[in-house]
Amino acid sequence: MARIFKRRNKAQPQTDASLPAIAPAHIPLEAIRLDLDIAPTDPLLATLQNNHGVLDLDRINLDSPALEQMRQTGMSMVAPLFSQGELIGVINLGTRRSEQEYTGDDRKLLDDLTAQAAPAVRVAQLVQQQRLEARNRERMEQELKVARLIQQTLLPKALPELPGYAVAAYYQPARQVGGDFYDFHYYDDGRIGLVVGDVTDKGVPAALVMATTRTMLRAAAERLESPGAVLERVNDVLVEDIPPRMFVTCLYALLDPATGRFRFANAGHDLPYLRTADGVHELRATGMPLGLLPGMVYEEREVVLHSGDTVLFYSDGIAEAHSPSGEMFGFPRMHALMESHNAGSSLLQHALETLQAFTGPTWEQEDDVTLVSLECTLAAAAGETAGGAAPAGDDWQLLAELEVASVVGNERQAMDRVAQIVAGTWLAPDRIERLKTAVAEATMNAMEHGNRYHADIPVRISIRQSPDAISVRITDQGGGQFMAEAETPDLDAKLAGLQSSRGWGLFLIQNMVDELHVSSDDRHHTVELIMNRGEEKQ
């Protein structure tokens, strides 16, 4: 593609075409740019490419639409512009104002001008291209932010607290933000609905369909009793509105905590696993994804959960993760990790460690990863004595996982969101303030020292709760950098100008929380802030 530049005299259009260098100073000149695209098959292109000099249009004898168009607009001479051997444009001239022929000097001047103009035009083209690319990148980043925001806003802020059951959830969006979601529906009679879903596509469109589906599921679950009927209803509403080539896989289960009855239906989602004393089973129920075809029927199945049974819901982001050699994680590995999991430890932790060992440390997550586990710890079901010992081992519940971009000031966003999440716990308001300051300072350190304020490297924050403590882990990607031991800042020395006025961050963190743990591997650096329940004022 070549662009045609023509210069003409503003006062006397079409009658004279002078280059600025030879134009009389008093005649105002105006550049007009004709967006004439020469088709790649046009023979004029080859002629221009093969001639590194000024060409008279009336001496070119070609069957060329572009040439014809140029003649019709009154052009008579063309000088190709080359940069590093590539034709990047042409300077085009009309006839002289005096209607005389261009002289040899004119042509020589035009030749010289062409040689000097070409690199400048090339630079301008590159600058324009870079601007466009930067604008596109910015727009895409903005879209990703919006998609993340939609998803994170709509994911549950807290996990269900069910007597006799432990629920845990993990959600990690891919950089391109897929359409994973999970949700919990609470019924007045104590039953609870569990949803795990995945919208095809990524980014904002997926996030919007996810938001719509989630709302439809909630509305349907309010009126309908059975998981199959809920999915049927949502499918019939969604199929009318969903954009072409998009659909939603979704598993919907209804648990009666009192009896352990676990009834489920499946709209094309990956099959959950149930681990019982007998082994690991797939929970199979047939059904088409939501939004593909109207009038679908969803099979409903039921199992009864007993003490020690564990159900794992997941999205294809884990099953379809790839190893560095291109091998897929796959369902046999999912099955195996359910079998190898030791009761009493965290299933999600085990699944993530298994996944990490498979994908290796350099894995660039391809899709969202969502895991929800439900473990039955019902004492009565296992014939254990009522009011038995406190649950051993893993009693940490994940409350939320957050991400903030490493951008100056975002520590306030991190602190605000952590505060919203822990507001629903036993942590007293004054201690929430302390935790906020510690989270802000630790996030600032992570953004600055770990991620060096690269906006595209997020700080990850996970908030967990056990009966005795709240833990906030703040992880950056500056692995291997252990935080220096904080020395108590000496205010007298600072006031006397003997010490920098700064250096308060770690000191503040240490003084705000009950425990501070720091760990690193070769890629990540994690600061864990702990608030103990025992420190609460009675």
């Binding site: 000031g409 004054d430 303030e433 300051t437 600032m444 205010l491 006031l495 100008g497």
Partner: protein
């Protein structure tokens, strides 16, 4: 219920011999120039003391603490008393932990601070 964090501002007014610096918004690294300008304005005319009014401050981070240290150091070099008002209970605690309260009177609000001698 996301907290609205406002841009930092500092304005100086005078009451009797006290130069009152009203601070508002986020006191972090971005506040440095405005805070220093306000301190310069407050001390341009002789004052008996400076009152930093934190009533409208949304957030102070470790860099904000460092900026207060700089202001306090300047005031001490000219033997100018510096007092504060309007700090929330949380930030009062931080001023205690950092020992800033050893060098600056901490008053709950402006009228109490102005009434103190």
């Amino acid at each position: 219920m996301t907290t609205q964090f406002r841009e930092f501002q500092a304005h100086v007014r005078r009451q009797n011999g006290t130069a009152i610096v009203d601070l508002s918004g986020v006191l972090d690294s971005q506040a440095e120039a405005a805070l220093e300008a306000a301190y310069a304005e407050a001390t341009a005319t002789p004052a008996e003391r400076i009152l930093l009014n934190f009533a409208e401050v949304d957030y102070i981070n470790s860099t904000g603490i460092a900026l207060i240290v700089v202001i306090l150091a300047k005031a001490r070099r000219t033997h100018l008393p510096l007092i504060t008002a309007g700090l929330s209970a949380h930030y009062q605690e931080i001023f205690r932990i950092t020992r800033l309260s050893d060098f600056m009177g901490i008053y709950p609000d402006e009228s109490t601070a102005l009434a103190a001698t």
